[in-house]
Symmetry: C2
């Protein structure tokens, strides 16, 4: 986080790095969580106060995973910036610093008090952040009128978005174990009930081919379809073919715009990230692993809550497992969770942000949801009582993905303009 | 292999290390395969010739996989030897050297010419060994009367075994891929067809809960049950409860002795060793892998052949896959294969070996099959035209397993005695 403190210092913002606690690891060791950077620019009683939230932690990256450039070294080529974090979300944090630098350079008074909360655990459920902010909520957060989260992406490449919702997530680890040890598949194959096969069976009974969760009761947790929102979805600048092409999928689970957006914004989804046997290092080993694990995520939507989803899934597995008639044991470990978030896009805050966008892009913003979790949105909505907006500054072509993460240089420059316009538009709310 | 040459040299056996060729690796590199050690002790035209086959390659071992001792350092404790290879199969090779040393120490003439073939690729299908031996078959193997393979295990702890069969194996890698790249499960979960879920589905359609292969046509390849052999199985010294306890299983797929032995000796079995998503390193990554792999083995029995099994499985997957209605692609890569082996336990060679066992243990041997592949058995049966026997010298309590491999010191000493008795009994065949 030190580079961030330095960058902020260069535009005269003094930062405080607040410890967020320690985390016990699976291997028994404890590590310090990264601190939260809190900072303040201006404290005029005549100005409204905006809280800017961002994060600088990134997904892991390894050159050998088909990266064309060094993932942790910023590279520029043909008007594109490449590197881990350029789209998700380091560059977006830097945008705020660049915007303030620009105003200072032109001796323009910043029309709001701005508070900053930048963290480093967003990809792991913003662990510790809520704790820090909750302790500060009476003193530091009480005067916050607006919260702006510059995270997420536009739907396409033509129209910017303002987002009023985000899915949450419940992560799980499922484990199937024998009572015995790893066995040689040659010697014992055929005599024993194998955990890997059991695990495949149970995972195959959680979703259909399209990834729709088939666990009974899940559907009842989802808020019912809303006609007005469906009309909104229909009106959005979202090209399903362009989307399909951008991710390289040969087929999607929905064939219409509304159908697909409903799936990724208003429906839960279940993804299996990986499975491990006892020893899966790709060698000649022909073992029957005595333990088999799967890591999976369920992305959740209003009105699902992590508690309800965890209970439903744990109960379902415990009830369904005996149908397998395997002597092996199944265990499910709920892991980190994020609540889904939703607000109203008819609020004045959204109108002001839309005016800012119109200044820069000459078009109205689309009001959208985000399919991926933004843990800070709900936390900050609760703690400040202010109006939260998610203002994605990246277009669809900017790729906050697993490898070769990239951001268009044009996106960065328009992002600075949007932030400055937004600051001024907020003064009239 | 140098320690082995040294050990053999210490009892006056001159070794030849014959190169077996190079192997192209998945990453494009080529590596030299380990040489085959060929050696000869005695060439008297008045003596019969025995070919002894053994191997000194071992399964990988890592201290962190719950080994209580350093896996590559021999440790002795409470009458047990611990270390990778003590049961499978380094110690068994050393037994031959110890037996010869013993005869030399007592100035006893060795009653046979002995040829040795010790290799280092047995766990990977004895790659290159067949090629070397085939080149030598007219000169070096033509005078071989008997082949002895001291590999495998007894059924229990009370009665030694002589084995007349071994299962083969066909290994596979199954791959499900999208056309696109890895995707963030938050952003895209619900919109795309996920390879990991597809892979679980297909794997769940290959076996039933007991591991019985459900691919149509497999059963027809298996040689029909043989009443006389079933009676033999019934007579064997095999305690199903003791076996179950020794592997720590809470339940077995067969409840009677004959049922269970039939499953591990006369039936094919399918084991999934591991599955990988694009990136399964246990971090916070919430990726939808664009590729999902599984490594699996099918152990095969007479009259199955690798060709027939490979064809059957590849055709089945290609025919069955469209039922999934997933746009993702499936590929199956047959990998290394070993033929099953079978001979007649009524041959004089088996009678001689049985007499040797009676000398040492005071009981008759059980005639058994081995559930795991012994690639050299069929190769040497073909190339020498001699009579092949598999003479396991390890009891059930000696554990050629994945971790904490061990051998009883008593097993080692009785092994030396058995070999010496066997050499003398063979002179009367």
């Amino acid at each position: 986080m030190y580079w961030l403190k330095e960058q902020m210092g260069s535009v005269g913002i003094t930062c405080e790095a607040v410890a967020t606690g320690i985390q016990e690891m699976l291997n028994g060791e404890s590590i310090d969580l990264p601190p939260v950077i809190l900072a303040q620019l201006g404290a005029s009683p005549n100005k409204k106060t905006l809280l800017v939230y961002g994060y600088v932690d990134v997904e892991p990256a390894d050159k050998k995973d088909d990266w064309k450039t060094e993932p942790f070294k910023l590279a520029e080529k043909d008007g594109q910036l490449y590197g881990r974090g350029v789209a998700d979300n380091k560059a977006t944090v830097m945008l705020w610093i660049s915007a303030i630098e620009m105003l200072q350079k032109h001796n323009i008074d910043i029309p709001l008090n701005i508070k900053f909360c930048f963290e480093g655990m967003a990809h792991c459920g913003s662990l510790g952040v809520e704790w820090v902010l909750r302790k500060r909520s009476e003193l530091w957060l009480q005067d916050v009128d607006f919260v702006c989260i510059t995270d997420g992406q536009w739907l396409g490449n033509r129209k910017p978005c303002l987002s009023y919702g985000a899915r949450g997530v419940c992560q799980f680890r499922i484990e199937v174990t024998t009572e015995g040890r790893d066995l040689h598949s040659g010697v014992h194959g055929g005599a024993v009930y194998e955990p890997m096969a059991d695990l495949c069976w149970i995972l195959d009974h959680l979703t259909d081919v399209t990834g729709k969760i088939t666990i009974p009761g899940i559907d009842k947790l989802i808020s019912p379809p809303n006609e007005k929102e469906q009309e909104l979805f229909e009106s959005l600048d979202f090209d399903i073919e362009e989307y399909q092409k951008s991710i390289g999928a040969s087929e999607l689970t929905g064939t219409s715009k509304v159908q697909l957006l409903t799936r990724i914004w208003r429906c839960p989804s279940l993804s299996i990230h990986g499975m491990e046997g006892g020893h899966s290092d790709g060698s000649c080993k022909r073992v029957i692993p005595s333990k088999a694990f799967a890591n999976l995520s369920v992305h959740i939507v209003p009105n699902m809550t992590p508690d309800r989803v965890n209970n439903l899934i744990v109960n379902y597995l415990n009830m369904f497992w005996p149908k397998r008639r395997s002597p092996n044991s199944i265990k499910i470990y709920p892991q980190h969770c994020v609540y889904p978030w939703i607000t109203k896009y008819s609020l004045p805050h959204f109108e002001a942000a839309n005016r800012a966008i119109r200044h820069v892009y000459g078009v109205d913003a689309d009001f959208t949801r985000q399919s991926r979790p933004i843990p800070a949105a709900l936390i900050l909505q609760h703690l400040t009582g202010g109006s939260v907006i998610v203002m994605p500054l990246n277009s669809r072509d900017d790729a906050p993905e697993v490898v070769n993460e990239k951001l268009q240089l044009r996106t960065y420059i328009n992002g600075i303009k949007t932030i400055i316009a937004y600051l001024f538009e907020l003064t009239s709310v």
